[in-house]
């Protein structure tokens, strides 16, 4: 069982974001970076499959970006993956999901991966396209927004999260690409001994030029913080009336009281 886990390194979401001088992305200066949260679930699920299958399973972690993304790859290795692949690109932010997916597919083609895991989306771009495009380019089955995953022989039974609290079960054969939703599992912490062991694991680096042959299909025109809207709704007056009003708002506009 050969598995590929595609991860991205993104800024800590508690950071204060500023638009960069090009006006199409955030300024990376002074930001702390970490593994995209959705991708942590992807790494964990691959490791669980490896634990399920034993020695025959093999996990490659792949990330595209500048040198700093090696930290995220190393975390994936310390969680239990077997090798890391760093596709070096100083200007990842200028590439659209089509190009990113094409690069991943170019790397994966001919390597006979049985399962490709990735996060549902990245926390910074949030396009949720890369996983599905990779599946299309490789001709693999694809299931998105996974909150449950079971592998039996060559068949995956996956639980998907749908809108409005509904779940769906899909079955498909390998090879396949799956995108992982928050809550799929409980990602493990890399332990200190495993962080040490990860230092010995294979870490390959390639320039992106060897895999990039596609033009971008979409271009970011502008990135901007939205105009500040007026303040929130403030209910004033008699306490009984405001309480009634609050209940009716919660009933009409939210699912809290349904």
């Amino acid at each position: 069982m050969k598995m590929l886990v595609c991860i991205k390194q993104v800024p800590d979401m508690e950071s204060r974001f500023r638009v960069n001088s090009e006006g199409i992305w955030y300024d990376e200066q002074d930001l702390a970076f970490r593994m995209n949260e959705y991708d942590e679930y992807a790494v964990e699920q691959a490791i669980r499959v490896k634990e399920q299958l034993g020695g025959a399973a093999d996990i490659t972690i792949l990330s595209i970006g500048p040198d700093r993304v090696v930290e995220a790859i190393k975390k994936g290795l310390a969680m239990g993956s077997d090798r890391g692949v760093h596709i070096k690109d100083e200007h990842l932010y200028q590439k659209d999901p089509w190009q990113v997916a094409s690069v991943i597919a170019a790397f994966a083609r001919g390597k006979n991966f049985d399962l490709v895991f990735t996060g549902l989306q990245s926390q910074d771009r949030g396009s949720a396209q890369v996983g599905v495009i990779v599946a299309e380019l490789l001709g693999y089955a694809c299931a998105t927004t996974l909150v449950g995953f079971e592998l039996s022989g060559e068949v995956v039974t996956a639980r998907r999260e749908l809108e409005g609290g509904i779940r769906g079960i899909v079955k498909f054969k390998l090879p396949a690409v799956v995108t992982c939703q928050l809550g799929l599992n409980n990602p493990r912490y890399p332990t200190l001994p495993n962080i040490m062991k990860a230092k010995q694991k294979e870490l390959l680096a390639f320039p992106i030029m060897g895999f990039l042959s596609e033009e971008s299909a979409t271009a970011t025109e502008r990135m901007y913080p939205p105009e500040k809207k007026g303040r929130g709704l403030v209910l004033e007056g008699d306490i009984n009336e405001t309480a009634d009003k609050l209940v009716s708002i919660l009933k009409e506009k939210t699912t809290v009281l349904r």
């Binding site: 970490r34 090696v70 930290e71 190393k74 975390k75 310390a78 912490y189 890399p190 332990t191 200190l192 001994p193 495993n194 962080i195 040490m196 990860a198 230092k199």
Partner: protein, 379 residues
């Protein structure tokens, strides 16, 4: 010269930080109030490998470096000073002397249960009449066949309440002063070890600070650490390393309080604006951060010196002195920035203030650190 953490250190830092955020931070108030770290948390820290960071893999450790250890203690202490000192005292004061001075047999026997945390380590040096004056130990030992028989009292034993493995210091002849002191590896569950009490304290209340009476404690001769009369040297060298751990603990406590004070200053509005827009608060934040950053530099540098087997006694004294005084300063100012809320348990900076004070006292008071530093300058 490179002031950047390596990528491997950053991976370690973020992993421990995630662990602390989820597993320790939510229960730090509870640990303080219960005067106890839940067994479940100790187990999780063991599973993370936090208790054997820099000990070699051959003895069950993670085989990382001393800087990794300092980062672990720092990150844990950001949320909970009690959990920080559990790791620090265990690693620096029990694992380290066995690793540095033990025979291969002693290392193989005693280190694996320590670095996996099956046994929690402690250091039995201080006595009611002998604190900074180590040569004044009143605990004595005599050889009796295949055993040493030890009698006396030990106090202020960090982690003593776990009754794990202790490094115990006793004198063969008090008139020999420091030349008469020897060190022993002791199982604190042995007959002859009476746990008198776990002290009630101002801060680090989740950490055990234990008093023991030793009444004809019989220790097999194979548990002598180093040679007879080498105990004073073992104690001093162990404390040199321990100061890196306490410096890291103090640094973490200061950072934890600073993070809260900075966030609070941006949220708290008075006179129509966040108080962070007031210069009185801005200057406090600037002073706090400056001291934290200088503490971090010297803590990390001391770790680097020890790792690279360079002399580090004066640096570790400076790192402990500076970081501990930074911790009490920063936590005090953090309360001040919080105003009345800072005095309330829920806001946590009052606990950090209480936790900080001990870092100026244990493993050598600030006065002893100044003595060490000035002697290094003038000798």
């Amino acid at each position: 010269m490179d002031f950047e953490l390596s990528q491997d250190h950053k991976v370690l830092q973020s992993s421990v930080r995630d662990f602390v955020e989820k597993e320790i931070k939510p229960i730090a108030i509870q640990i303080d109030e219960a005067h106890h770290i839940p067994e479940q948390l100790v187990l999780k820290m063991r599973e993370m490998g936090l208790l054997g960071s820099y000990l070699p893999e051959a003895y069950g450790g993670a085989g990382l470096d001393i800087l990794s250890y300092a980062i672990v203690v720092e990150e844990v202490s950001k949320a909970c000073g009690s959990s920080g000192v559990l790791i620090s005292a265990h690693t620096s004061l029990a694992c380290d002397p066995i690793y540095q001075f033990g025979t291969e047999e002693q290392k193989k026997k005693h280190l694996p249960p320590l670095v996996t945390g099956e046994k929690i380590g402690s250091f039995l040096l201080t006595e009611p009449e002998a604190g900074s004056d180590v040569a004044g130990l009143a605990t004595t030992y005599q050889k009796d066949g295949e055993n040493y028989v030890i009698n006396g009292n030990k106090i202020f034993v960090t982690n003593g309440g776990y009754r794990g493995t202790g490094i115990l210091f006793a004198s063969m002849d008090r008139s020999l002063k420091h030349k008469g002191i020897s060190a022993f590896i002791v199982d604190l569950e042995s007959e002859g070890v009476e746990l008198l009490r776990n002290e009630n304290k101002l801060g680090i209340r989740g950490s055990y600070t234990t008093a023991f009476a030793l009444d004809n404690l019989r220790v097999p001769t194979e548990n002598l650490l180093g040679s007879e009369g080498q105990g004073f040297k073992i104690a001093m060298e162990t404390l040199n390393g321990g100061r890196i751990g306490i410096g890291a603990q103090a640094l973490g406590i200061a950072e934890g309080a600073f993070e809260r004070a900075l966030a609070y200053s941006k949220e708290r509005k008075q006179f129509g604006h966040p108080i962070s827009e007031l210069q009185a608060i801005q200057f406090k934040l600037a002073d706090m951060y400056t001291r934290i950053e200088t503490s971090k530099l010297i803590v990390y540098r001391s770790a680097w010196l020890k790792e690279n087997k360079k002399p580090y006694a004066a640096e570790s004294a400076m790192c402990k002195l500076h970081a501990s005084e930074t911790a009490t300063y920063v936590t005090n100012e953090a309360i001040q920035i919080h105003g009345g809320y800072g005095y309330v348990t829920e806001y946590e900076v009052e606990r950090m203030y209480r936790d900080a004070k001990i870092t100026e006292i244990y493993e050598g008071t600030s006065e002893v650190q100044r003595l060490i530093i000035s002697r290094a300058l003038l000798s």
